[in-house]
């Protein structure tokens, strides 16, 4: 009984969000003036609920580790299918922010397009809950469940503007391709189940706890022990195929090249608040699962093939996203490609999270980056909504010519987002990028960091293009940016701009001093120093105080 309570507490965030979604659905029922008034309060209720969820998520797992290392026992519940750690909690908080901003920016947009239905909020909340589930899942099956909850709600949201052909196209495309991706994920899970089970049985591995063979901890244990016994699971073709399929499924959601082709079309067609939500929410869920998966895989020995594949994916995603973004003339498509590029940067962090010297660093880097990315990316979308009028948006980049004259505040906010996305210092995007690439260098992937830096330089070009339009061009007469009723989108955009700037100047509140980190950095340095100066120690002598790393000096 007590354990169940603990478990509920540990995964309070997705549960509350789910319940909140149901409450919103209930309140949407009924007709008459009373119901209409009630319906008007739905966004407020959702946002307040999300704020509370965020607080709950923040406090519920205080004091736990960021993420346990492979080999250690995590605080897991529900048949060890859900894990409670700070990593998952922070992801939940970020997801609350994503959903809150997406709802905040949608009010006027939905009204003007005549699609202001209560389901919108409920669907966003369900989708958020699905992503949270993915962030806290400790089992591939739960990852799949979370992914489906996330996706099904998103399919509907993409087609939410029913009368708009583009929106329908977007929904159909996303649904068809997305269901394939889910299939891949499920099939991969099945193959892994078989491979892990087979290996565990034939090698007689004594599993630490009874659990399914799709549990991350079980997979990690079998990977390690089978490698010790000389028949590494990582080289079994069944397992490799399974992981490859998993990568397809997750890579689709995270819009990783080569599974990215849907993204620009879907992003362009979907209602803009949905695009904003999708560009961050779905990605965050997928990346949480990615990090957990590769944390398990890469920390095991003989995981070289996965590493190489991930390396290739990260490099390709960064390059393709940035290069294709240059030619875009539609701002939503440009942001879509830019979000692909950013997925590539985050993959660099995912890759580093599989290296013993760097993983703590990398986890924080991924968290920090996703947090910052949320604000800068959603802020840019909120701005597009803010400047739209009568349900029509100005999506061509040339529409933004001379914006600085007509809407100086909007132009300033957009410049902050663009500079941050480009990684130019005063904005927070720079620190995020620095953090990610530093973790990559720490993990020995200097070349990948180098590629990332080179393609960021390409990024500077297209982000700058928008600033050039806004500030250096004369306003065109065809576009009327006169008096616009900003509504929630305005506040969302300004809030996001402020946060982007403030975290660029004062990053501390987000990632404060963590003594554990310093230990890691110092021990890594010590280890390297010792490697250079001394011959490997004989077995048995303990390494210098290295509480956080389990590596022996010679390995």
């Amino acid at each position: 009984m007590n354990e169940t309570l603990d478990g509920i507490k540990a995964i309070a965030a997705p549960l509350i969000t789910m319940v909140l979604g149901m409450i919103v659905l209930m309140m949407d029922l009924g007709s008459g003036p009373e119901a209409v008034r009630r319906r008007r309060s739905l966004p407020t209720i959702s946002i307040v609920g999300l704020v509370m969820t965020g607080i709950v998520a923040l406090v519920s797992n205080v004091g736990r580790q960021l993420m346990v290392q492979p080999g250690q026992e995590a605080a897991a519940f529900f048949g060890r299918g859900m894990v409670a750690d700070v990593f998952g909690s922070v992801f939940c908080v970020v997801l609350c922010i994503v959903a809150g901003l997406a709802i905040a920016m949608s009010d006027r947009y939905l009204e003007e397009r005549g699609i202001n239905h209560g389901e919108f909020y409920a669907l966003v909340l369900f989708s958020t809950a699905g992503a949270m589930l993915m962030a806290q899942a400790n089992d591939l099956v739960n990852v799949f469940v979370g992914l489906e909850v996330l996706s099904v709600a998103l399919y509907i949201l993409c087609g939410f503007a029913r009368r708009d052909r583009r929106s329908e196209e977007s929904a159909v495309k996303y649904f068809l391709l997305g269901s394939f991706a889910s299939g891949f994920l499920l099939f991969g899970t099945a193959l892994i189940y078989g491979a892990v089970g087979l290996s565990a049985r034939t090698l007689g591995i004594n599993l630490g706890f009874p659990g399914s063979f799709t549990n991350f901890e079980v997979i990690g244990q079998v990977l390690r022990e089978s490698a010790q016994q000389g028949q590494p699971l990582a080289s079994s073709s069944l397992f490799v195929t399974g992981v490859a399929l998993l990568m397809v499924g997750l890579g689709f959601k995270a819009s990783v090249v080569p599974f990215h082709t849907y993204a620009p079309d879907v992003y362009e067609g979907a209602p803009t608040p949905v695009t904003a939500f999708m560009s961050a929410g779905a990605k965050i869920g997928a990346f949480a699962a990615f990090v957990r998966l590769f944390h398990t895989l890469l920390n095991a020995e003989s995981a070289e093939p996965f590493r190489i594949v991930l390396w290739g994916l990260a490099a390709a995603t960064m390059i393709v996203g940035n290069v294709l973004a240059v030619r875009q003339t539609n701002i939503k498509r440009m942001l879509a490609y830019s979000s692909i590029a950013h997925a590539g940067y985050i993959l660099v962090g995912v890759l580093a999270s599989g290296v013993r010297e760097a993983y703590q660093y990398a986890h924080q880097a991924v968290l920090f980056y996703l947090f910052v990315y949320t604000f800068m990316n959603l802020g840019a979308f909120a701005l597009v909504i803010w400047l739209g009028r009568n349900g029509e948006e100005y999506t061509r980049i040339s529409d933004y010519s001379g914006l600085a004259r007509k809407q100086p505040l909007a132009a300033l906010a957009m410049s902050i987002f663009m500079l941050s996305l480009a990684g130019i210092p005063p904005a927070a995007g720079f620190l995020g990028k620095l953090y990610l690439f530093m973790s990559a260098v720490q993990a020995g992937e200097a070349l990948l960091a180098g590629i990332g830096l080179v393609v960021s330089a390409i990024g500077v070009f297209y982000y700058l293009n928008l600033i050039v339009r806004m500030y250096f061009y004369e306003p065109s007469d065809a576009v009327d940016f006169g008096v616009v009723r900003g509504g929630g989108a305005r506040w969302a955009a300004l809030l996001a701009a402020a946060v982007t700037l403030i975290f660029g100047l004062l990053p501390n509140p987000l990632i404060g001093p963590r003594p554990a980190d310093e230990d890691v950095v110092d021990t890594v340095r010590d280890l390297r120093l010792r490697d250079r100066t001394r011959t490997p120690r004989p077995e048995g002598t303990p390494p210098t105080p290295a509480p956080t790393t389990e590596g022996a000096p010679g390995s």
């Binding site: 210092p425 005063p426 200097a446 061009y473 990053p507 404060g512 963590r514 950095v521």
Partner: protein
Amino acid sequence: MLMTLLLILPVLFALACGFAPARQARSVALLGAMVTFAVSIFTLVGFSGSAGGPVYQLVEQRPWFPALKIGINLGADGPGLLMIVLTAFLTVAVVWYSYEKVTFREKEYYALLLALDATVIGAFSALDLVLFYIFFEACLVPAYFLIGIWGGRDRVRAATKFFVYTVVGSLVMLLSIIALYIHAGTFDITEIQDVLTRKPLPPEMGLFIFLGFAVAFAVKTGLFPFHTWLPDAYAEAPAAVTVLLSGAMAKLGTFGFYRFGVLLLPDAAHTAAPLMLTLGVLSILFGGLVAAMQRDMRRVLAYSSISHLGFVVVGLFAGTKPGISGAVLQMVNHGITSGMLFLIAGMIYARIGSTHLRALGGLWEQTPLLGRLLLIATLSSVGLPLTNSFVGEFLILLGAYQNYPFFAAVATTGVIWSAIYMLVLFRKAMYGAPVRPAVRRMLDLTTNEISLLGAFTVLIFLLGIQPRILLHSADASVDAAVAGVTEAVERASRPPTLMQRPRRRPPQTEPATAAPPATAAPPATPSPTESTESTETTESTQPTQPTQPTEGRGP
């Protein structure tokens, strides 16, 4: 506290400019620039850079981003402080200059000027690698807007080119910064210096790190193959901004060479010295040659800037005390001389709407005051004795000759080129009869402009006659740099065996005896009776004699 004040004051006044009424913005800006300048003078007075003292003074350390061990570490050595004072001075000058010339979007203009001031000062005073990088990049943003909004006809292209080039350059530097961090475990420059003496970098690694820095600084300085953004940016930017670009921001490059090349990585700087000297000499020749072919006054000045900063690079990498002192001196001198020249060009442009040499002619008669002041600036640029540039260039050539006679010989021909293009420029602009109608209507300088250029004139002669006031404050830092390079030379020449211990002595004492005549040279040199060539031959042969053996052993 003083260093922080130097950073915060301009930012505060920039914000005040943003909120002040449009007509008052310029007064607020002038006040802000003057207060900052006063504080910087105050700092300089309290600074003791005499030989033997600590290199970095006024050090302030505050944690900023402990997770990455980035701190707000500010401080200055002699050259850094000189650059800060120069920047503050030039800001006062350009705000003053802009007083009647800028008539639209004044609030933004002045706010951005002060922001540029703050970021450039920040880069000069940062003692933390990441902080330096942040300021190094952040100063691009105001400069970019200043060129793009208030620039000439081709401003958008020039601004974008400028931004993209410099960002690409600095991204390479970021990789070097990360690599240094991985080696030293800190971003603090003083700590890194300690770590590097205890645990030197492997030579190839050091060279790569140095080259990463070198790319960024070469782009910023506008060294020969990396210069293509520079003429466009200098010619298209409003005159006030060009002054800050060439006077202060380009110095970030040469100053970076000094602090991160010569001071921090002396071994790599020594290894790469032939390369850097080649680039420096090529810049001198190329800049001079192309400047002689230009038909627009501002382009002549832009290319002459390339040529002059080539001298600075030659001096920095000469590895001798006169060379490095001369380079530091020349950084200040170039800021003053080129600042004055660009301001005069701006005044001409403001009057007749062009600086094309064909549109000028006859200004000597038409505007006698402007003509006389341009003559002084021209002579200073050519390096006439009694003016500031003579001392700097002479010291540089002297220092370069001691170690690299060939490069010094080639660089000396640059003096001839500068005489050619500057005198041709002067002849075309000034002599002849004022035939063009625009010229015939041209008015002479206003009182404001006279007092502005008068300040520059005073500095030109003051520093030409009494350069010690600058050299003195840079002594401690320059001595440390020379000592570092001398040790590097020694290490490079010493075979890896430890048999050669006793040989360490003589090269260590030799520079010490060689130094006094070299340092004594500056006050003696500006004797107006001797021509440039004769001073050089008589003076330079003396100190080169004792160092001849070192040079033979060096490479």
